[in-house]
Symmetry: C2
Subunit: 99 residues, 2 copies
């Protein structure tokens, strides 16, 4: 059985959602319960996992203000925004200590 451990850190403008997993299979998406967030903020996703898990989470968090993907070499890259002060392709600097 696969298990995903989510943890969240609240920041003023976004919720940092980190996940850890041992293994994941596509069928696990059917029962996944990602953490509830405040949709009036953005979401930054961070964790080691397959691309399709990230893609699932991006759709799941679609109602939030923006979604960014944390890449340790770059920062958090905004891939979706519904708010004028956040633009796709922009990078949010994340404190490495909080990842």
């Amino acid at each position: 059985m696969s298990e995903i451990r989510f943890s969240t850190i609240e920041r003023d403008e976004y919720t940092l959602i980190r996940f850890e997993l041992d293994t994941i299979k596509p069928e696990n998406l059917k029962t996944l319960k990602p953490p509830k967030v405040n949709n009036a903020k953005g979401v930054v996703l961070s964790g080691r996992g397959p691309t399709w898990l990230y893609c699932y989470l991006v759709h799941h968090y679609h109602p939030t203000r923006f979604i960014a993907i944390y890449d340790p070499r770059i920062g958090a890259i905004i891939v979706e925004s519904h708010w004028p002060s956040y633009s796709v392709g922009d990078i949010i600097k994340i404190n490495e200590e909080e990842i």
Copy 2:
């Protein structure tokens, strides 16, 4: 300058969108022009690229019937569906020859 080459293959139920790239930077998302598709079908994404590029494309193709991510070890995993006959976590078998 970064360049992404998209190619599409039309199938009855989905458009297979494949991309190839040398390098990509987050700022390239600002000017990316993914191929237009028929939103009455699904989309299957395939290519070697960073997770944040996939996540951008998933949001871009949000209006389509479903979105699946091709993983060569598994098949195309549905990560988002707006149509009853396609469920998140299901796998679409893709003919390897068309990838």
